[in-house]
Structures are given as C-alpha cells and as structure tokens.
C-alpha cells in the first residue's frame, strides 16, 4: 500500500512538468500563428495596452465569456486600431479581427467564444502607428467546437437573423457609452456533423459585423466559427449628438470547418437603435 502511494506521488511529479508546459505552450504561436498573421513584424508582449479577462475553467466550452479590457483611451492621434483574437489550439484558431476608431471611445470588447481544448487565448492589438502588442490568457475548456449546437436548435433556426441592441445606462454625449449587440444565429461550426446521417452539412456562421453611429464606424468585425451561437458583443461608442446606432451583419457557409477556400456568401441582416441622450 505504502509503495503504491509512493508511486502515485512519483506519477504526479512526472506529470507536473507536462501540465506546466501545457499552460506555457507557445508552440502554435511561435511555429505557425505568428508568421501567418504578423510575418516579419515584431510583436511585443505586455498587458499595458489590452488585457483579457476569461474564466480559468470554462463552464460551457461552447460559450466562454471573454472580455478584452483596454488600458489606453481612444485618442484622435493615438488609438487601438485593431484587435486580433486567436485561440491557439482551436481547429481553426482565428476568432475574429475587430477594428475600432476614436469614435469607439474605448477599445473594450466582450464576447462569447468556443474553446476546444486547454489553450491560450491571445489578443494582439495593433495601434494606429502600427505598433503590435500582445496579451494572452490560459483557459481550461474541452469540446467547444464540436459541442452540440445550442439546446433548442429549432428555436435557434426560427430566430436566425433577429438582432437587438441593448443600452442599459442613460446615454451621455461626448463620453464612451456601453452598448450590447445580440445576434440570433446558430453559428454552426460544421464540426458537429455525423458521417452517416448528415443533418447539418456545413459551417454556417456570422462573418462580418459592422456597427456604426450616424454612419461613422464604431466596431467592424470579421468573425468566424469560434464565436458562440447567438453572437453577443459589448463595446463602447461616443455619441456627439442624438442619432442612430446601426448594425449590419453578414453570414457565410463554408464547405470545410477549417478551410475558407470554398465558401458561399449567405444573408445580410440589419438592426437600428435610436439614441436620444
């Protein structure tokens, strides 16, 4: 018995470096992603520009709430232009690319994503002067990309394309106001399908989200299958007067969940919200 105990200790000790390695695993980034997205460019690592908030262990791998918090204001002469979000170990690591403007007020962004396995989530901010700053967060999740497509698929299909804006606080002119955009879309990864009975043939997901205020862009996103069903984004905008928030969304359908070579354009949806401070 005693011997067995010693052995399990030994086993645990042997395992530990492996686990530690999993958390600090930079292989996907160093060997592939860095060159794929930033070939020949230098990317500094720091939490001074943006930082990621995410649960260390995800309750539901298909619906992991993450928040990117910016540490610098969106000034006219110095601002975060773009944030690329990647999940290293997802079958298709690209989550989305999110463009902000000084009219965004703050380059904060909250959304729900799919995480397929224990992985780093990384966000790379590109400043308007071209400087690249990366932050990352390790999340324990499993099976987010092949997970069942929502609890009630028919209900989801019936509401497909429905959208709503939610602004919960009184809108203040001249300062950043928080807005939430809810998009009803199953955002099918194409990885749920069964080889025998193909009920769900292809990936079918939101590929573009454009939010503007009085026609000035606030948030422009190119998104992919790692966005959870019923995409949900929270972001800021600075109104200079009363006006209209507008969201324009387009989806697509691709033959393979992990290649974007053969895709067909889908439908477009739009929604507006009148802001009266």
């Amino acid at each position: 018995m005693k011997k067995q105990k010693t052995r399990s200790w030994l086993f645990a000790l042997l395992l530990m470096p492996a686990l530690a390695l999993a958390e600090g695993d930079e292989a996907e980034w160093t060997n592939k992603l860095k060159n794929q997205y930033f070939a020949g460019k230098s990317v500094e690592e720091s939490n001074d520009i943006i930082e990621i908030e995410a649960p260390y262990r995800a309750e539901d791998p298909a619906l992991v709430p993450i928040k990117i918090v910016s540490k610098v204001p969106q000034a006219k002469d110095s601002y975060i232009k773009k944030i690329l979000v990647l999940v290293d170990k997802n079958p298709y690591p690209y989550v989305g690319e999110f463009e902000f403007t000084p009219d965004s007020g703050k380059a904060d962004l909250a959304m729900r994503i799919r995480v397929n396995t224990y992985s780093n989530i990384r966000a790379i901010a590109e400043m308007n002067d071209g400087r690249l700053v990366m932050t990352k967060k390790f999340v324990k999740a499993s099976g987010g990309c092949s997970a069942p497509i929502g609890a009630d698929l028919d209900a989801a299909m019936q509401r497909l394309g429905k959208m709503k804006f939610r602004l919960d606080d009184a809108v203040k002119i001249g300062s950043p106001n928080l807005a939430q955009l809810l998009i009803s879309h199953p955002n099918i990864t194409g990885m749920q399908m069964d080889q025998v009975t193909r009920f769900v043939k292809k990936s079918h997901f939101v590929k573009e989200v454009r939010v503007s205020f009085n026609d000035k862009p606030i948030l422009t996103a190119k998104t992919d299958i790692a966005i959870s069903a019923d995409p949900n984004f929270r972001f800021y905008f600075v109104p200079d007067q009363a006006g209209v928030l507008k969201a324009e969304v387009a989806d697509t359908s691709c033959e393979s969940p992990t290649s974007r070579d053969a895709c067909t354009a889908g439908s477009s949806y739009s929604e507006t919200y009148t802001v009266n401070p």
Partner: protein, 304 residues
Amino acid sequence: MRFLFALILLASSACATAASVLSVTEVAPGVYVHMGVHELPDTKNHGAIANIGFIVGERCVAVVDTGGNPEQGKSLKLAIKHITSKPVCYVINTHVHPDHIYGNTAFKGAGVKFVGHEKLARAMATRGTYYIDKAADQLDVKLSASDIIPPDIGVKDHLDIDLGGRTLKLTAHPAAHTDNDLTVYDEQTDTLWISDLLFIEHLPVIDGSLKGWLTELKTLESHPYKTVIPGHGPIVKDWPKSMQPEKAYLEMLLMEIRAMIKQGKYLEDAVEIVGYSAKGQWRLFDQFHRKNVTTAFAELEWEN
C-alpha cells in the same frame, strides 16, 4: 503488490467478457427499473448513472433506456432474460443523453425496433462525434459511430405501441430537458416513465428549454399518476408532490434570470449570483448549476 495487480487484471478482463446481471426492481406489475446513482459520469462508473429498465407485455418486452455504456446494455439484457423468456420488440430512448442511449448496441437485432422522439435522430447526428470523443476521455468507454443507434420509429406528438395485452402511450414533448424528450405511459399500471423530465435529489440539468420544461411540468402535474419513474432519483408514488423541488428550482431560475436581464446584468454576473439559495438542497449542484444558468440565460435573453 504484483499479486493484487494480477487480481485486478483478472477481474477487469472477466468484466469485459461476461456482463453481469443488472439489478432491477419491479416498481409496478411488469415494470422493472434499475436504479441509477447520483454521480457525475466518469471513468469509474463508465456513465452508468441513470434509471433504466423495461416493461413486459404478453407478447414482448419494451426496453426504456439502455444505459451509459454498451456493457450496461448487455447487463440489462441479461436481467430481462432472467425475468422473462419473451423477446425484446422495442427499445425506447427517452432522449439523446449518453447515460440513456449508450447501451443500445446490446439490443440491435432482428425483430427489435428502436423508438425515439422525431428529433432524436438529428440530436444523435449532431452530437455523435462529440459524444464518441468524450466517451473515451471521460468515461473510459470505447465507442464508434455504430454504437449511436438512431430510432427506426420517430415519434411526432403521440404513438401507441402494443406489447400484447399492454399498450404503451408514448408522448414526444416540445423542448424541455432536451429538445427530444419522450415519455412512456403504461395504462395498465398508471405508470408514467417520465425519465429526465424529472430529477429528484440530483440537480435538474437544462439542455433544452427552461420555459418549455416548466410548461410540460404544468401539464403533467394535473394528472394524478400512480407511479412515476424519474431519470434520476427514487420512484415516485406521491406525484406530483415529489416533483415540487424541481419545479421550484426551475421557477427560481426563470424569475432570477429574468430579473437580472431586466437590470441590464450579463451572463457573467448571472452565473455568480443566480440560484445559490438552492445549493444545499441538491446533489451535484456545483457540477451543473452554473451550466444551467448559462443555458437558461442564453434562452431568456431573447424574450421580449
């Protein structure tokens, strides 16, 4: 030590070759149930956690859920042989969850019809790959696509099946616990095999529609069944009394999440706050509650 190891090896290989007879209880005349355990499916219980069983007619037997792994399916088959010489003619799957369908393979054969909700086949197809991957990691059960057996007969609304002198009335429900829940009513004994529409002691798990589930409970509550067989928990002889804790939990979620949405709170806030007053009342609360809040929140945020 080595001797012990050899013994374990022997025991496990014996397990793999000859399934043991599953213990079952006759809860009403001709209605047999194997009582599950309140555990998370894992590599020790191999997913065998749910209440499963069978109903014997004059001509043949209907199996109601087959268990959490192929071995448990075999054990259930042996239990049936132990009790009756009548053949199995129907295998009813009450919904898509692994603890109810992974024993299906044991019953495949001539003369056996698999029956499920009309949406069960789609649910099996969309979840199949994911389930098979997870079975190896989480249950230490080796499964292939051929172990996920879709129904031969899909039930839309209602279907009566005849076991010879005994009619089972099957009802396909709108989305509730899952989007493919099927209940089995045995007229002869006034028994409702409600399966996972009812959890007792084990925290209810939402994988369909919170609102839909409450609607179904309201309808079912008005009928005074003599015996009700839940998917998890003891046999009910005082329906609808034993169902009240589940209803109260689901109603609380509905109320508290609606209130949070109205206050402009987000999902991340809701999972930290909603429903914790029920924590002491349920087994496996920590394992399923946050997931329930997440699923329900995603449903309710689309209410107008």
